[in-house]
């Protein structure tokens, strides 16, 4: 079936260092990938999304490239800030055959903690 794997449950980094949060997916359909970010006690919000193979997508200093050859959509940032501390979810959108709607399959999430 369709699924998303995020291998790191927790990532702790010092401010100013680069980060990469891993995301791989499984689907037999054409993939549409999302990254959502959830700050403490807030609603998840869209960070970025892509369905184009090998094209870098950027937003708020974060970037990701969908690689269909490796079924990956890793999230990166060159220099993390204290305000980046949050829970990051990778999600795969597939079209439900019955309703013809896109529905999201979420990974387990990666908690990023940035320390001074």
């Amino acid at each position: 079936g369709d699924s998303v794997t995020q291998t790191e449950g927790l990532v702790t980094l010092t401010k100013g260092l680069p980060v990469m949060l891993n995301c791989t997916y499984q689907t037999t359909y054409s993939p549409f990938l999302f990254w959502y970010v959830q700050h403490l006690n807030e609603a998840p919000k869209l960070l970025l999304k892509s369905s184009t193979d090998n094209k870098r997508t950027e937003h708020q200093g974060f970037y990701a490239t969908l690689h269909k050859s490796s079924s990956s959509f890793h999230l990166q940032k060159s220099s993390v800030q204290l305000s980046d501390s949050a829970l990051y979810f990778c999600a795969l959108s597939v079209i439900d055959r019955g309703s013809a709607l896109g529905r999201l399959h979420f990974g387990a999430g990666t908690q990023l903690i940035v320390i001074p």
């Binding site: 609603a43 919000k45 999201l104 999430g109």
Partner: protein, 113 residues
């Protein structure tokens, strides 16, 4: 812009109790969703609705009922709360189908004693 409101913010229930969570959106979106968030398990889809009075089951629909009374509101009922259950229930909406971005509410935190 728009906003999604979820009530209540916190819900404490007793084992076996029927509990109802409510969600309102003013985006004028067609599609609404209910997710359950458990620590370490991501978000799991319970029910979704593509229009008023429509209901579609997600992966976790057993033990829940839902109701889309009108376009702007979507309710979720826990039919029989399980002892020591603790989770966050998130409501979301999107313009329509396909791969539209979903917008989330702040959540309802459930604790069953």
């Amino acid at each position: 812009g728009g906003i999604i409101t979820q009530t209540p913010k916190f819900l404490i229930g007793q084992e076996g109790q029927k509990l109802t969570l409510k969600c309102q959106q003013n985006f004028n979106h067609d599609t609404m969703y209910w997710y359950r968030q458990d620590s370490g398990k991501g978000l799991r889809l319970i029910y979704y609705s593509i229009t008023e009075n429509d209901l579609q089951k997600g992966d976790l629909s057993e033990g829940y009922d839902a109701s889309r009374e009108k376009k702007s509101s979507f309710s979720l009922t826990v039919t029989s709360a399980q002892k020591n259950e603790m989770a966050v229930f998130l409501c979301a909406s999107s313009i329509g189908g396909g791969h539209d971005t979903q917008y989330f509410g702040p959540g309802t935190r459930l604790l069953v004693l």
